[in-house]
């Protein structure tokens, strides 16, 4: 073996570039602009999960609740026009369409299938606007099958979990 072949780790090789020593030269720049996130609780159980989140520190995330018992009826199968729904925010009732104006990520939380209609409306509205959707179903096993089925067509990412802390974990990870 020649002297040259004993040290193949050249400056422009992965063997050199991927060392711990080289990691310290990564450019240290934080993401400048956070995601613009809406979190929508689709039922009463989900609203309880969301209430636990609002006191955390978030990057401008808005928390909303859909209350099927008080919301006006929505005809989701109507003639192609986009339906709108009323959601509850900390400031009072708001229209979904207004909330989505500058959103780029919507997370729907469900524990039951009470919010199936809202999930459909939100999912369609987000597709139209190019907004990323995620769904989190909090519950165990077959108890939440209906909620999963209701969200599946409308959430590009769907997480089924019995750990309600996963909601905060996901939000933190995506910069909400």
């Amino acid at each position: 073996m020649t002297a040259m072949t004993t040290r193949p780790t050249l400056l422009n090789s992965c063997a050199f570039a991927a060392t711990a020593a080289e990691a310290r030269f990564r450019i240290n720049a934080k993401p400048q602009t956070p995601r613009s996130t809406r979190v929508v609780a689709l039922d009463a159980g989900a609203a309880a999960v969301v209430r636990e989140l609002v006191d955390h520190t978030w990057m401008g995330t808005r928390f909303l609740t859909f209350d099927a018992s008080t919301a006006p009826p929505v005809d989701v199968a109507a003639d192609g026009r986009l339906a709108d729904i009323v959601l509850l925010s900390a400031e009072g009732p708001v229209q979904l369409s207004d909330e989505l104006i500058d959103a780029d990520f919507t997370m729907m939380i469900a524990t039951a299938n009470d919010g199936a209609v809202a999930a459909t409306v939100i999912g369609r509205a987000c597709v139209l606007r190019g907004i990323m959707t995620a769904g989190v179903v909090v519950g165990e096993g077959h108890q939440v099958d209906a909620a999963v089925n209701a969200l599946r067509p409308h959430a590009r990412v769907l997480l089924v979990t019995n750990d309600r802390n996963d909601v905060a974990g996901i939000m933190s990870a995506v910069g909400a």
């Binding site: 040259m4 030269f25 990564r26 450019i27 956070p34 990323m132």
Partner: protein, 428 residues
């Protein structure tokens, strides 16, 4: 001898350091242009001033220099595909244009605007001469592109190479303004190297091993002049210009091409040495170009496929004691570039200047350090634009000349030290 904190100020060039901020006032060479020759070609890793970046050229021919690592999960974009409109990360397909702006996140919906919120750090990258230059500083203080003569002559009159040197940038630069070592370390090269031998100046160099020094301020840095005895009543002068932060030129020899260097920190323990040869008034001959490509003169041979010199610290620079004993080379190391690099690397990754014993012959080095410290402090404390940013400071030349003993080199060479298009270099 320097205090430790001054040595650290001079040698540390990462983001936020005083010397790092000084370097970020200038355009600095980061790649040879032929490393990104082809639009849409493969990306190239770049590390300078302790920042890791990726350079690429999009299909429209635009150059980009951006953070090496994808904003998504930190994978290296070196594995990326250079597609129409940008560089796509090989991991999950995030795509970036030449400014670092993310233009596509495939996991998001079709008409999502999320990618508009994702931007990697990006720096301008421009081609001047055969070199790609970057400005890593504040866009508001971006200077005009460099105008060193080696970059502005026709392309058949200039040649540039680069090599990786495994030590701090400053000890490498100091070799470039330390004319007193030439008669010793490079004595063999003056006799044998095809790009050095044969000039009358070499005889003066080899016949007077105890030169005198004069160091004079210039607008952009310094002139380091060395005089040796010539014929009766005359001195042989070699004048080396240094322009802040890291540009030096070697005084010419006969009709050989004129050479010099730009010393660029990679990190605090490595540097790039950009080495050029050019002639102001005639094309380089095929023989000269061949000699440069073969590693003669101030160039070097390489480990194939890399910019690491073939002679390096892992093989003791292929040191040849027999050649040293015969006097073919003074240090036993072949080639002028590697003679310098071997000794500069032997000083350690960052030489400890608290333990030096400088002598008066080191006046150029002493003055250069003082100017660098002053420039860095003036920039930090007062926002003062440093010397060498103004492109007027780039239009300089090195000179070798025989003058009557009573003449001032500076007065006699005032015109010769200015790069004037179409005017031959002043050389002996």
């Amino acid at each position: 001898m320097l205090r430790q904190e001054i040595n650290e100020l001079l040698t540390q060039t990462g983001p936020g350091t005083p010397m790092g901020e000084l370097f970020r006032q200038y355009w600095i060479p980061v790649l040879l242009a032929d490393e990104l020759d082809e639009p849409g070609g493969p990306p190239v890793r770049v590390k300078v001033l302790s920042e890791r970046m990726i350079a690429f050229r999009d299909n429209d021919g635009q150059y980009g220099l951006i953070d090496e690592f994808c904003a998504h999960r930190g994978a290296s974009l070196w594995f990326g595909n250079n597609e129409v409109g940008g560089l796509r990360c090989a991991y999950h397909g995030w795509k970036y244009d030449v400014t670092g702006q993310c233009v596509e996140v495939p996991s998001e919906p079709d008409n999502s605007t999320f990618c508009s919120k994702v931007k990697l750090t990006g720096y301008p990258l421009i081609k001047v001469g055969d070199v790609l230059w970057a400005h890593l500083g504040d866009p508001a203080t971006r200077p005009d592109p460099p105008e060193f003569e080696w970059l502005t002559v026709p392309s058949d009159q200039t040649y540039t190479s680069k090599r990786w040197q495994e030590c701090n940038w400053l000890q490498a630069l100091e070799g470039g303004i330390d004319s007193s070592h030439v008669s010793w370390l490079h004595s063999g090269g003056l006799r044998n190297d095809p790009l050095f031998k044969g000039s009358k100046g070499n005889e003066y160099n080899l016949n007077d091993m105890r030169p005198f020094f004069e160091v004079v301020d210039s607008d952009g840095g310094l002139y380091v002049a060395v005089r040796r005895n010539a014929e009766e009543g005359n001195y042989y002068w070699r004048i080396t210009p240094w322009v802040l932060p890291a540009f030096t030129m070697v005084p010419p020899r006969g009709d050989h091409p004129v050479h010099g260097h730009f010393w660029v920190p990679i990190d605090d323990e490595n540097c790039w040495v950009f080495t050029f040869d050019y002639l102001p008034t005639r094309p380089l001959t095929e023989g000269e170009l061949t000699a440069m490509r073969e590693g003669h003169g101030v160039h070097n041979e390489y480990v194939p496929g890399t910019f690491r010199p073939l002679q390096n610290k892992d093989n003791d620079y292929m040191m040849n004691r027999d050649a040293q004993r015969r006097g073919d080379t003074f240090s036993g190391v072949k080639g002028i570039a590697m003679q310098d690099a071997s000794l500069q690397e032997s000083m350690g990754p960052i030489v400890d200047r608290t333990k030096e014993r400088l002598v008066s012959a080191d006046s150029g080095i002493i003055k250069a350090r003082r100017k660098l410290v002053q420039a860095a402090q003036d920039l930090r404390d007062h926002g003062t634009t440093p010397p060498g940013v103004d492109t007027k400071h780039h239009r300089i030349r090195s000179v070798s000349i025989v003058l009557p003993k009573e003449e001032s080199f500076l007065e006699s060479c005032r015109d010769a030290l200015v790069a004037t298009p179409g005017v031959r270099q002043t050389t002996v």
